[in-house]
Structure formats: structure tokens, C-alpha cells
């Protein structure tokens, strides 16, 4: 590509840009664009923060009673499978 990127082009490449999966030539064009375009810079920055804030959330422990019921169901299943004989 020799033409300049539009904001629309930038937006279409945003995910790959944030994931670092676009090729170096495109990457440098995208970098040039955000350095010159305040809107796209803000969109890029806030998209990145959106992803980071979700990635920062650890799964909460499962409530004990849910865990107990899960293990109970699995043990029942295992007993059925290993016992072989079903009534």
C-alpha cells in the first residue's frame, strides 16, 4: 500500500494492531496514523484499556455449595462408569 491510511482503514486494522499480529509494514503505517490523528489515538488507547481491564479480572472462586454439587455429580458418574453394572 502506498496510499495514506484513512481513519476507517485504521479502525479495520485496530484489533490486529492491538494484538500485534499485523505485518511490520502495515504496523508502521498504523503507528504513523495514530501519531498524526488524535481521534484514532484515543480510540486505540481506550480500546487497549478496555481489553486490559477485562484481562485483569480473575475468575472468582466458585461458591462452595456449587463446587460440592459439581464434585458430587462427577463422583456419581464415575461410580456408574467404573461399576459397570447399571440396574
Amino acid at each position: 500500500m502506498t496510499f495514506l491510511l484513512t481513519c476507517k482503514d485504521f479502525l479495520h486494522e485496530l484489533s490486529d494492531y492491538l494484538d500485534g499480529t499485523c505485518d511490520p509494514e502495515l504496523r508502521s503505517k498504523l503507528e504513523k496514523h495514530i501519531n498524526e490523528c488524535p481521534n484514532c489515538w484515543v480510540i486505540c488507547d481506550t480500546s487497549n484499556k478496555t481489553i486490559q481491564v477485562y484481562r485483569g479480572m480473575d475468575p472468582q472462586p466458585i461458591p462452595q455449595e456449587i463446587h460440592d454439587r459439581l464434585m458430587g455429580a462427577i463422583q456419581k458418574k464415575m461410580a456408574g462408569k467404573c461399576g459397570g453394572s447399571s440396574a
Binding site: L11, H12, L14, S15, D16, L18, D19, T21, P38, N39, W41, V42, I43, D45, T46, S47, K49, T50, I51, V53, Y54, R55, G56, M57, P59, Q60, P61, I62, I66, H67, R69, L70, M71, A73, I74, Q75, K77, M78, K81, C82
Partner: protein
């Protein structure tokens, strides 16, 4: 092949192999590795604690039942996620009696990504909100996405599966995963920006 003992923590492949041979403790170890993540995923897709618990049980029971059919070249976790996603979508369809709940019909209105709010965030939300408040904000934003977008975002950016793993887990093409991910990220960005932006601040400050 001999089942040589190693002192390293066992990887999923070894645990699956042992569970397959009837070792209950190995399967329990797999459960405790992934139960939180599967429960969280199911809760996010179904938006229901009750359905999420059902999905959690069904996913692990099905995994156990079909261990013999599990192909060792796939990741156990990806396989489990695939089962949990399918169970979750079934719940969603049943509960809403909504035939539009489908991964095949993203109901895209044009493929132009949407951007309206252009404003920087006011500091770091992780420091400005308690973790319960922040969790509630993030969960609500996800809940508002359509299932086809929500599911892709959850697998890629919450469970941190690769694009290829997500495509495999959802039976989607890589380009479909990418375009849905972009849409989902931009929609969430939009919603979060409305909440986290500096008050009285907008694009004009940057022009």
C-alpha cells in the same frame, strides 16, 4: 509406551490419559484446574447463576463421558470450552425461546465498526472503583452484547484463547472471529468510555 513417572506438575495431556484409564483423582485435578473459568464463562454467556451451574455440571460430565473420544492433539481446555459454550447457548435458546440466539447469525447491521465516544479515560478504573463495582460494570457491559459477539470476546479477551483456538471452539472461520472480536471490543470500548471518561471532556479538547 511406558507410563513413566515424572516429578513435574502433570500437564493436561497426562491427566487426561490417566483419567481415561480410570484414575478419578486425575479427572478431579482437571476439574479443579478449570471449574472457575468454565463457571465464569457459562455465567457470562447465559447471564444466569442457575443456568451457569447446570452448564458447569453438564460440561464436566460430558467431558468425562467422552474422554475416549477426545483427540489428544486438541487442548483439553479448548475442548471443554467448546462443550461449555454449546451447553450455554442451548440454555439461552431454551430460556428465551429465542431462535435468533445463534452463533451462525451474528445479526450484523452492516460491517462498519461503530465509534461514537471519543474521549480519554479519567485515570485507571482499577484504582477508581472497588473490584466489586468494577466487576459489576464490566459484567453489565458484556451482558449487553449480542451472544455472537459476546462469546467471541469472552473466549479471546477474557479466557485468552488464541484466534485459532476460538475459531475451533466456536466452529467459526478465523476472519469471522476477527471481525466479531473487533465489533465486540469497539462496543465495549464505547460503553466503558461513557462511564470512565473524564467528565466534561471530549474530542474537541484534542483537536
Amino acid at each position: 509406551m511406558d507410563a513413566a513417572e515424572t516429578s513435574l506438575p502433570m500437564d493436561d495431556v497426562a491427566l487426561v490419559e490417566r483419567a481415561r484409564q480410570g484414575d478419578a483423582a486425575s479427572f478431579s485435578e482437571l476439574v479443579s484446574r478449570y471449574d472457575r473459568k468454565i463457571y465464569r464463562l457459562a455465567r457470562h454467556i447465559t447471564n444466569s447463576d442457575e443456568d451457569a451451574e447446570d452448564v458447569l455440571q453438564e460440561a464436566f460430565l460430558k467431558a468425562y463421558e467422552h474422554l475416549d473420544g477426545f483427540q489428544g492433539n486438541a487442548k483439553f481446555y479448548t475442548w471443554l470450552v467448546r462443550i461449555a459454550v454449546n451447553e450455554s447457548l442451548m440454555k439461552l435458546r431454551k430460556r428465551k425461546s429465542d431462535r435468533t440466539v445463534s452463533l451462525d447469525e451474528p445479526a450484523e447491521n452492516g460491517d462498519e465498526p461503530m465509534v461514537r465516544e471519543i474521549a480519554v479515560w479519567d485515570g485507571n478504573p482499577e484504582q477508581q472503583y472497588s473490584s466489586d463495582e468494577l466487576r459489576a460494570i464490566l459484567d453489565k457491559a458484556i451482558a449487553n452484547l449480542k451472544p455472537a459477539f459476546r462469546t467471541v470476546f469472552l473466549l479471546r479477551d477474557v479466557e485468552e484463547l488464541s484466534t485459532e483456538e476460538t475459531a475451533a471452539a466456536l466452529d467459526l472461520s478465523v476472519p469471522a472471529v476477527k471481525s466479531r472480536l473487533l465489533r465486540a471490543r469497539l462496543e465495549l470500548r464505547e460503553r466503558l468510555t461513557r462511564i470512565f471518561k473524564k467528565k466534561g471532556d471530549d474530542v474537541f479538547a484534542y483537536l
